[in-house]
């Protein structure tokens, strides 16, 4: 049996003694797509950063395709694509130069060809040779998406990918995600937009105050229950710092 794309057991992460995640058990099968919901400070971004190997767990474990993700394993990073709030793009370089740099860093075969492909895929052809500093937020987000897709990862981690995108760019993003998902990539997406999240994912997870409070398929019969839980979680007062 193929190893799970993500498997966390008792995953806990503290920042200066304040817990951001508290004992999260979560499994994602290869090729599965899940939308991650929850209020601000619920631990969604922390969970993604732990899966992307940018953070080490305070306790518990995170395995990516069966390999330990807590130790910054390069093999895990080779199979993971991460789209964050920040674009990770050098403002003084053009999208073409940024993507060529990341293509070489990921050991992509035939970088010029692959860079050209992803630039076309995200609709950046007209802006490929302008410094990133001069691009709008939406165009920069498209370029960041191209960076995350460049090495054809088996697991895509997307932190609020629709933020700052107009209707056209949102449609491009959905198409790109559908293509990646059809190719067999597993997908985790955090979002505050229920409609956008459930358009791309059949499974939903709700995090609240660092704990997983709901996890299941959002078929028509479960949709009401899911929305009730999400509403209840969103109405909770924010957690005070310890």
């Amino acid at each position: 049996m193929a190893a799970a794309a993500i498997e966390t057991r008792g995953l806990t992460r503290n920042f200066g003694g304040v817990p951001a995640l508290r004992g999260v058990d979560f499994t994602l099968a290869p090729g599965e797509a899940v939308a991650l919901f929850g209020p601000n400070g619920a631990g969604k971004s922390t969970l993604l950063r732990l899966c992307a190997t940018l953070l080490r767990p305070s306790s518990g474990s995170v395995k990516i395709f069966g390999a330990d993700g807590g130790s910054g394993n390069p093999q895990v990073r080779r199979r993971t694509g991460f789209l964050s709030h920040q674009s990770f793009l050098y403002p003084d370089l053009t999208p073409m130069e940024n993507l060529s740099f990341y293509a070489r860093m990921f050991g992509v075969a035939d970088p010029p060809h692959r860079v050209h492909d992803v630039i076309e895929q995200v609709g950046l052809v007209g802006w490929a040779n302008r410094p990133v500093r001069t691009l709008s937020r939406g165009l920069e987000q498209r370029c960041a998406l191209a960076r995350a897709l460049l090495h054809e990862p088996d697991l895509l981690l997307l932190d609020e990918p629709f933020t700052g995108l107009d209707v056209n760019a949102s449609a491009i993003l959905r198409a790109v995600l559908d293509t990646a998902h059809r190719r067999g990539a597993a997908l985790v997406m955090t979002t505050h937009d229920v409609a956008q999240g459930l358009a791309s994912c059949r499974r939903a997870v709700i995090l609240a105050r660092g704990k997983l409070v709901w996890d299941g398929a959002v078929a028509s019969e479960a949709r009401d229950e899911f929305e009730r839980r999400l509403l209840a979680v969103m109405q909770q007062p924010p957690r005070a710092a310890a």
């Binding site: 940018l54 964050s84 920040q86 674009s87 793009l89 050098y90 003084d92 370089l93 740099f101």
Partner: protein, 219 residues
């Protein structure tokens, strides 16, 4: 590592920020300190090695700080950390890049130093090259490590010199002592103990930096 180095050079070719700040501070330090000594005084020649190293170190702190500020914009360092490369090689690429920038600045500052301090054009000046190079490698080895730590702090401009300058005291002592003797006409063999100090310092901090960089950049 080559991809990282090329990216840093590409950004520098475009912005010229690191080289410009290295050059400006290096030249200003030389100019101000050269006014402190009477042009005809023998003291001027004796103080020259110390002035050279003060200019190197002050300008170097600024250059190394800048090299990590480019990684801070848009959290680019996080993007690099996501790549399936050994994090030690990210550190080594930064050290090599910083040494290249500092050596390039020295190609301009060096002749001006010779002119300001009225040093005779002799082989003694050529013998300074390995000493300066070894000193800059050690300085960049420690500086790149501490810059990676300090760049995420709020008081980064203050934090880097505070962390870095006490650590590079052996480089300063070794560099100044060896430079003074070489400028006084001694051969490189006569300053081997200072060269060995610089070599040992470089080797030690390159290995330490390569090993601990992964932890230095962790949140």
């Amino acid at each position: 590592m080559l991809a990282l180095l090329w990216k840093d050079l590409q950004i520098e070719f475009r912005t010229k920020e690191t080289l410009a700040s290295l050059l400006m501070l290096g030249l200003l330090t030389l100019l101000i300190l050269s006014f402190a000594f009477d042009p005809m005084s023998e003291l001027r020649g004796e103080a020259a090695p110390a002035v050279l190293w003060v200019a190197l170190i002050f300008a170097g702190v600024l250059g190394i700080n800048r090299s990590f500020l480019t990684e801070r914009e848009n959290e680019c360092l996080q993007g690099v950390l996501l790549c399936p490369v050994d994090r030690g090689s990210i550190y080594l690429a930064k050290v090599v890049g910083n040494v290249i920038f500092m050596v390039t600045a020295q190609l301009i500052v060096g002749p001006i130093f010779v002119f300001f301090f009225n040093l005779p054009l002799s082989w003694a000046l050529a013998r300074l090259i390995p000493i300066v190079l070894l000193g800059l490698i050690g300085f960049a080895a420690v500086g790149s490590l501490f810059a990676a730590i300090s760049v995420r702090t709020r008081a980064r401009e203050v934090m880097l010199p505070l962390l870095l300058l006490p650590m590079v005291v052996p480089v300063l002592i070794g560099g100044v002592k060896a430079s003074a003797r070489v400028l006084a006409g001694k051969a490189l063999g006569d300053v081997s103990q200072w060269l060995n100090l610089l070599l040992g310092f470089d080797a030690l901090f390159l290995v330490v930096g390569w090993l601990v960089f992964e932890y230095a950049v962790e949140e």
